[in-house]
């Protein structure tokens, strides 16, 4: 069993190498602008891996992942100003709190499937958007909401990573851990249970799978990852703004997870790239934001139409073909 868990696969090895390369080279690639862009992209990769995994493994669509990130970020900020705990403790508590919120979200989800489930989560995202817009994110003020006007108190980043470059590395490590966490689940009994639930809930129940438990579990994991991602994002900026967590962003993250390729780790990375790096690139090239919208929307449509397994599916397919050819076998 342990052997199965640790069994290396080509795609998995490629992922670890990719993470290592990112860890080594990304922070020194392009100065402060890109360090900052890569950091937020990495946070969103973590959140995207949560939606992608729910979709690929259970066929469940969550349109509230970015909203959940907001919760993680909110809790991280709140704790930062409330208690003298280290960043890591805040991050873990925020992830757990978001996981609990994911469970709450799972309550209606247990009886719904497909589009209805997606739309219930969209309603949650709409609600969270309003809450964040109304009550804002804590910045060191008094009271439950902790909002102060005019200035804000300093945020304690992780002791290990005080510079933006170190923080980017820190986030890359966290994101890699998140990906490994999902992969470990996939290889063990929850992964099998999820696969059967995706096929048919009735068949899963007949096979002794506790459908309620496993669906809730999946929501919890997606919440955990979103919470962690939100906390990390809060850590990178030191404050958050409700504009980041609109419901349309949640829809977009799901769409990009599909475009990236929900079944593959690379898919989440591509999704994050498209979500944060591409706009940064366009902005850097001086493309007008409105035109960038058009390019982005057209690209999204094009990818959804032409790459049913996502861009990662095409890349992975090409890589498999290539490696087969190199080994001299049949493609």
């Amino acid at each position: 069993m342990l052997r199965d868990l640790l069994r290396p696969t080509p795609s998995g090895l490629a992922g670890l190498i990719f993470a290592a390369l990112c860890f080594l080279f990304l922070p020194s690639l392009g100065g402060s602008y890109w360090t900052s862009a890569f950091t937020s992209a990495a946070c969103f990769a973590m959140a995207a891996s949560g939606v992608a995994f729910m979709y690929a493994r259970l066929g469940m669509v969550s349109l509230t992942q970015v909203g959940l990130m907001g919760i993680g970020g909110w809790v991280t900020l709140r704790l930062n100003y409330l208690l003298p705990l280290p960043f890591e403790a805040n991050l873990i508590l925020a992830s757990l709190a978001t996981m609990v919120f994911g469970w709450l979200l799972a309550l209606p989800a247990l009886r719904m499937r497909g589009l209805y489930l997606a739309l219930v989560t969209l309603m949650a995202a709409g609600g969270l958007e309003i809450i964040f817009a109304t009550y804002q994110f804590p910045n060191g003020g008094e009271g439950f909401w902790g909002v102060k006007i005019g200035s804000f108190d300093p945020f304690r980043g992780p002791a290990l990573a005080q510079t933006p470059e170190a923080y980017l590395r820190y986030v890359i490590v966290m994101v890699t851990l998140g990906f490994l966490f999902i992969e470990a689940h996939r290889r063990m009994f929850p992964g099998r249970a999820w696969a059967l639930i995706r096929r048919s809930e009735a068949a899963a129940m007949a096979s002794g799978v506790n459908v309620t438990l496993y669906k809730t579990w999946a929501f919890g994991i997606a919440g955990l990852l979103a919470g962690g991602a939100g906390g990390l994002l809060a850590g990178s900026l030191g404050l958050l703004d409700d504009g980041t967590f609109r419901s349309s962003e949640s829809i977009m993250l799901f769409a990009l997870a599909v475009v990236g390729g929900a079944q593959y780790w690379l898919g989440a990375v591509i999704a994050a790239f498209l979500f944060r790096i591409l706009p940064a690139l366009l902005a850097d090239w001086g493309v007008d934001t409105d035109l960038a919208f058009i390019i982005f929307g057209a690209g999204l449509l094009h990818a959804i139409i032409t790459a049913p397994d996502g861009i990662a599916g095409q890349i992975m397919g090409a890589a498999r073909g290539l490696s087969a050819r190199i080994r001299g076998g049949k493609p």
Binding site: M1, A204, A206, G208
Partner: protein
């Protein structure tokens, strides 16, 4: 031994099952009846996918309907569906392993059991094949193997021979007949292939419009004029 007592099911105004009672005692028993008679509904009640408005189902004395659906599997209940339910992204081995994932036991014991049952259905060589690459018959066999693991007490097959060729049906029949000797499990089979039912089921329940119209040794049941009229159509059947 499985006992159905006074099971009634309603869908809105339709009475899909009307106070059905039957006590299955033979290793393999059949359920037949016209389309829409309520056969699948009966199995769904036993598995817990349909809520009954009355009645009980006892399996070796335990009241099955008191358990949550997924717990019934732990109590030893297995079933297959009218359409086979194989996850495309799991291997044959994993598709079977799911069944015993949530019960105790060591990993190696589970692995050996899955391998053994795959050998029984003749899929040991395909253990690592993903579900997506199986043929219809192989999918059906994987479904059977899944029902066999974990020391089941009762297996229910819903039209297992649907879409199988004559030769494949024959092989499946043999497999079903061998189950009792292998694990001591009782089997209930729904099928419209009367030949198959006649060959493998010692006793048979016949439903029509949600009512029990006959129950007893298969040969007797098939000779019953009521069954002939409602199900088989007139006379001559090679029983």
């Amino acid at each position: 031994m499985i006992e159905v007592q006074d099971v009634t099911v309603r869908f809105g105004g339709v009475v899909a099952l009307n106070a059905i009672s039957a006590r299955f005692t033979t290793p393999v028993a059949g359920i037949i009846g016209p389309n829409g008679a309520g056969k699948t509904t009966l199995m769904n009640v036993v598995s817990g996918f349909v809520s009954r408005s009355g009645g009980r189902v006892l399996m070796d004395g335990t009241d099955l309907l008191a358990l949550a659906p997924h717990r019934r599997s732990k109590a030893g209940l297995r079933r297959s569906f009218q359409k086979e339910q194989i996850a495309d992204d799991l291997t044959v081995f994993e598709n079977v392993l799911v069944q015993i994932d949530s019960i105790g036991g060591t990993w190696s014991a589970k692995r050996d059991e899955v391998r053994r049952m795959l050998a029984v259905v003749g899929l040991e060589r395909q253990a690592d094949t993903p579900g997506a690459r199986l043929s219809g018959f192989e999918r059906r066999l994987t479904d059977v193997a899944r029902c066999l693991v974990g020391a089941p007490k009762l297996i229910m097959f819903d039209e297992p021979a649907g879409g199988l060729s004559v030769a494949e049906t024959e092989r499946l029949g043999e497999l079903i007949l061998s189950i009792h000797g292998l694990t001591g499990t009782q089997t209930l089979v729904i099928d419209h292939d009367v030949e198959l039912i006649a060959r493998i089921c010692a006793e048979t329940l016949v439903l029509d419009f949600g009512r029990r119209i006959a129950f007893g040794p298969t040969a007797e049941v098939l000779a019953d004029p009521k069954v002939k009229a409602a199900y088989l159509g007139t006379a001559e059947v090679e029983a």
